[in-house]
Amino acid sequence: MTETGRLGVTDLRICFGSRQVVSIDDLRLGHAEILGLAGESGSGKSMTTLAILGLAHTVGASVSGSITLDGQELIGLPQERLREIRGRRIAAIFQSPSTAFNPVYRVGTFLTKALRLHGATRSEAPDLAAGALRQVLLSPDLMRRYPSQLSGGQLQRVAIALAVALRAEILLADEPTSALDVTVQAEVLDLLRDLRESIGMSILFISHDLAVVAELCDRVAVMRDGLVVEQGPATQVLSAPADPYTADLLDSVPKLASPL
């Protein structure tokens, strides 16, 4: 599953001026695989996401090394080419779905605009959007609503629906459930698991919470201070961590056994 890898990150270095913030030697995401990238704020996981999207320069960072999508090198690709890949083949969802939407556009307008930007015709875009909403278990009636009329969980589903409608091969999910209630989180995790099974989506799931990673991921890479300190199958990393930092992160998860 992971020999070739759909997404390959090799010798990636991300720097702000002379200060190196990320250094990843090898990270691979296979077909229909869910890879967890775990670490705290400042560990470099979100910068890695930006680099994969070809957006690191927008925050003033320089990137070197190699990022490949099905063997095609992305680093150094002109922005026009990247724009075809970003969103279409590599989609991203973020922690706060409300900031991902333009508050003055209805949900339907948002979806159809994005679909048309990536080549859908005027007549097929609304149907594609409605179908994608159904696939994330939302009613197409939501297309008439504004983002402020949807809950956080619904908005996150709409963001995922766009990735589904564009048939994205890879979903970068950067703390997609950290701002949600645990019940809604459980639903979104369920949906991501489902999309992997039904359409073979590959997911890079970024989180500070190893319990959430344990719920979802096949493999885990743990980052600290820009370095991957440990990576391997979720069952192995989470039950017998080799790095003391991973063990510390695991210990931090609140236990449901009440000591009082």
Binding site: E40, S41, R134, L137, L138, S139, S151, G152, G153, Q154, D181, V182, T183, V184, Q185, A186, E187, L189, D190, H208, D209, L210, A211, V212, A214, E215, L216, A234, T235, L238, S239, D248, L249, L250, D251, S252, V253, P254, K255, L256, A257, S258, P259, L260
Partner: protein, 349 residues
């Protein structure tokens, strides 16, 4: 209405007996209702908080009314009916010096320390302001006390010179806790104190609360959507749904022998590092309903996997499910008997 230290409410709506045997509660909330226009954000809630060391957890999703209860305790929102008594005094009728004393006795820590710390004030000045306002210590020793509080909250006293933006989220939350505790309150309301933090930082803050709890014999209300957080810090827990208490009892009982399907689902939704456990989550369909237009009967019935006809017709009352354990569910006996609940919902809303 509770206007004094009355301990006898109506038998079916009085708060569950909480805390050490027979001790009078420090805080009593009786049949509290808070309205925002047509919305009943809190709808007839009764709760007791025992004198410290004691923790009461308030667990529920967004819109359950848990934060509104916290704000009402601090008199930050007015209530429509019912009452709150603190140490036998009616909180709603406090005025003048008595109100000022209450404002010192009851403190709150909010979810987002960014919004509760003044960005233009150094940390030391932020804490000193509270100390001066409540004349806790002589003027000359204000800065010593502020530095002492920072140390107690696990921060270097040099942080007094720094500004909020120079601190991490976890450090800012420690400052907010230090400030709240600097006036030696008797009751602390912690409103999602760790939800904006990384899990590792959350663990440190929870440890800090546990330490301060035993050192200072703190009594607190811990508001959260995550059962994992209350399990370590609260002996009693109330589960709220759409402004009502769905279930209340010892935290251990709610975790392991809950009588309300919503409690079972909430507990089940907490992610676990155990990879083998990942397939057994109960997933509730949809979001909590609109509080302006609540469902008939039991407000939980549209999402409830165990709902029967009676549930949409008849409002369940909060009734005894065991010693110190109350539940508002027609099917509590079935839940206690282990009625199976589906772990996946694959249907369109």
């Amino acid at each position: 209405m509770t206007a004094g230290p009355a301990e006898s409410g109506p038998a079916d709506s009085g708060p569950a007996d909480s805390g050490p045997a027979g001790a009078a509660p420090l805080l009593r909330i009786a049949d509290l209702t808070v309205r925002f226009g047509p919305v009943r954000a809190v709808d007839g809630v009764s709760l007791d908080v025992a004198p410290g060391p004691f923790g009461l957890g308030l667990v529920g999703e967004s819109g359950s009314g848990k934060s509104t209860i916290g704000r009402a305790i601090l008199r930050l929102v007015p209530w429509a009916s019912g009452g709150i008594t603190f140490d036998g005094q009616n909180v709603g009728s406090l005025r003048g010096p008595a109100l000022k004393a209450y404002r010192r006795d009851a403190q709150i820590v909010f979810q987002d320390p960014d919004n509760s710390l003044d960005p233009r004030m150094a940390i030391g000045a932020t804490i000193a302001e509270v100390l001066r306002a409540h004349q806790v210590v002589p003027r000359a020793s204000v800065s010593d006390r502020a530095a002492g509080m920072l140390t107690e909250a696990g921060l270097d006293p040099d942080f007094a010179q720094r500004y909020p933006h120079q601190l991490s989220g976890g450090q800012r939350q420690r400052v907010a806790i230090a400030r709240a505790l600097s006036v030696q309150p008797r009751l602390l309301v912690l409103d999602e104190p760790t939800s904006a933090l990384d899990v590792r930082t959350q663990a440190h803050i929870l440890k800090l609360i546990a330490r301060l709890r035993s050192e200072r014999k703190l009594s607190y209300l811990l508001i959260t959507h995550n059962f994992g957080v209350v399990s370590e810090l609260c002996e009693q827990t109330a589960v709220l749904y759409l402004g009502k208490v769905a279930e209340i009892g010892a935290t251990n009982v709610l975790l392991h022998a809950a009588a309300h399907p919503y409690t079972v689902a909430l507990r089940s939704a907490v992610p676990d590092v155990d990879v083998a456990a990942r397939r057994s989550r109960i997933v509730l369909p949809g979001d909590p309903p609109d509080a302006a237009n609540p469902p008939s009967g039991c407000v939980f019935h549209p999402r409830c996997p165990l709902a029967i006809d009676r549930c949409s017709a008849e409002v369940p009352v909060l009734r005894e499910a065991g010693p110190g354990h109350r539940v508002a569910c027609h099917r509590a006996e079935d839940v206690l008997a282990g009625a199976p609940m589906p772990t996946h919902h694959r249907s369109l809303p």
